[in-house]
């Protein structure tokens, strides 16, 4: 029987090792992926969620909250700065 060329003889084990490593890597990745939910991937969570459609009442309530907090915060900061003196 004719022996295969030396170059092929040397390459074949390397190729099979690389292939086995690739398959092992893929298997590991598959196992890892199995434990995450689809919407848990970074690629998914980095996509923004759409803006919520708030009712007019909710928008008005949030505006009232904004005004309330700004006013009270200013009062507390004024008091705090006054106490420092």
């Amino acid at each position: 029987m004719k022996a295969p060329p030396a170059t092929v003889k040397q390459r074949r084990p390397d190729a099979s090792v690389a292939e086995a490593e690739r398959q092992h890597q893929e298997q590991l990745e598959d196992e890892l992926i199995m434990h995450l939910e689809r919407d848990q991937f970074v690629e998914k969570t980095s996509r923004p969620v759409p803006r919520a459609a708030l009712s007019a009442r909710a928008t008005a309530a949030l505006w009232a909250l904004r005004v309330f907090v700004v006013l009270v915060s200013l009062m507390v900061l004024y008091t705090f700065i006054d106490q420092l003196h």
Binding site: I33, M34, R38, Q40, F41, E43, F68, V72
Partner: protein, 454 residues
């Protein structure tokens, strides 16, 4: 669980696996194994963390000094049942954070920004950064008080705090960070030890659960007490932290029940240890305890040493160092989560510093700025520390309202949205916190501007 099955069923391609996904998936594989083999205790061990850390993190240096100060000034009574009541309120808020994080896999900051608009998102982040910075200064002051008991100075407090932040960040894994901080947080139990060492009258402690005697003093003093005690129990950073940490941990809707146990355990432990600090402080009531400046010198630990022995003083001092240190780690983390979420860059302990540079820089940077403040000669540290809890209370209603809006968002939460009973309790909590904060803010302002007398 569902990713591969879902992709097979629907024929859709899976997204690429990042290093952050790979790290999170390894943690999830252990949860999957524990659930599959019905190892209940191991499953609980794997899933606890964000809830206990949020609650014990809030039992921070200023809070424990505030509880001890309440005890020293008013003794047992109103505050013994009031502290557990506040932690029950905190549970209602934190359970929502955990649930939203587990269901959406997103942090609070990014959801507010994307779902409710940039103005609210940046307002929330600004509110958080301000209150966190002020609170972090107070944490370093609390560590300094604990170290002063052992004749160590502010420089040691700065080095210790910053070294801890860098050390816990060094692993590049959420799991490692969480377990180190969780291990440290259990030393919050030293306040319970301090309470036992002062040999309190157990009967008097039991009798105080009828909320009496009610603290006396002026209306403004009462409002300050309520506002600072509420600020010592529920704060904006806890909301940002627990939701983001739950998402970073990789929790899913299947883990929500365990998340509830985690949050409840945190609330129970924090209220027991908080009451411990109060009881230890109450031992000083008949020894001119009301005159102790909690944030000056060695404060309460030194006073306890003279009244109840060196062991009680040691336990309280080490407890203060621990409380400050744990809070520095959790509060820095909440700032880093908020910064990453609002700017829209990688924000996970599972990412490497190269991939999440802003997250790591914000984590160390905010602690660095706070540390620098306590080294400034003549800085008004006492005023900052005393006002930190009040400022947090005043700004808290915004964070809570937005949290309730998110938890009710069926587009995000689906079947996991708030039930009517949760909304009723949640709105009652917000109304109570908002009224106390606003009443104190308005009353103090009117007194400062001499519109009303003190």
């Amino acid at each position: 669980m569902a990713a591969v099955e879902a992709s097979t069923a629907s024929g859709l391609a899976l997204p690429p696996l990042s290093d952050e996904d790979a790290a999170r998936s390894q943690d999830r594989s252990r949860v999957h194994d524990a659930r599959h083999h019905r190892r209940r205790w191991r499953l609980l061990w794997l899933l606890v963390g964000p809830g206990i850390l949020a609650m014990l993190g809030e039992n921070d240096g200023p809070s424990m000094i505030a509880y001890a100060s309440d005890g020293a000034q008013y003794g047992l009574g109103f505050f013994v049942p009031f502290i557990p009541l506040l932690f029950a309120m905190a549970y209602v808020c934190q359970e929502m954070c955990m649930r939203v994080g587990a269901v959406t896999h997103r942090g609070y900051g990014e959801l507010v920004l994307q779902r409710l608009g940039r103005a609210w998102g940046w307002f929330g982040a600004g509110d958080l950064t301000l209150t966190n910075l002020v609170t972090l200064v107070a944490e370093f002051v609390a560590i300094r008080v604990g170290l002063a008991y052992f004749q160590l100075d502010a420089g040691v407090a700065v080095v210790l705090g910053l070294a801890l932040v860098v050390f816990t960040l060094s692993g590049g894994r959420y799991w490692r960070w969480e377990r180190i901080v969780l291990g440290m947080a259990l030393f919050n139990g030293l306040f319970l030890l301090a309470a036992i060492l002062v040999k309190p009258d157990v009967g008097a402690v039991a009798r105080s659960f009828d909320f009496s005697p009610f603290p006396g003093g002026s209306f403004n003093t009462l409002l300050l007490l309520l506002a600072s005690t509420i600020g010592a129990t529920v704060t904006p950073w806890m909301i940002f932290f627990q939701q983001s940490a739950s998402a970073d941990k990789g929790m899913t809707p299947r883990d929500v029940n365990h998340g509830r146990w985690d949050t409840a355990a945190g609330a129970v432990l924090a209220s027991i240890f908080g009451v411990g600090a109060l009881i230890a402080g109450a031992a000083l009531m008949s020894h001119h305890g009301s005159g102790i400046q909690g944030f000056a010198g060695a404060g309460f630990p030194e006073a306890l040493k003279h009244v109840a022995g060196a062991a009680a003083g040691d336990a309280f001092a080490i407890g203060l160092i621990e409380a400050g240190a744990v809070a520095i780690l959790t509060i820095s983390a909440s700032t880093a989560y908020a910064a990453g979420e609002c700017i829209g860059v990688s924000h996970s302990f599972n990412s490497s510093p190269r991939n999440a540079t802003l997250f790591y820089a914000a984590n160390i940077g905010v602690a660095l700025v706070a540390a620098a403040v306590i080294l400034i000669p003549g800085a008004p540290l006492l005023s900052i520390a005393l006002n930190a809890n009040v400022l947090a209370t005043v700004l808290l209603p915004v964070s809570l309202v937005l949290m309730v809006v998110l938890a009710n968002d069926r587009g995000l939460m689906g079947a996991w949205a708030n039930k009517r009973s949760t909304n009723v309790i949640g709105i009652a909590v917000i109304a109570f916190v908002g009224l106390c904060g606003a009443a104190y803010g308005i009353d103090s302002f009117l007194q400062t501007t001499h519109v009303i007398g003190s």
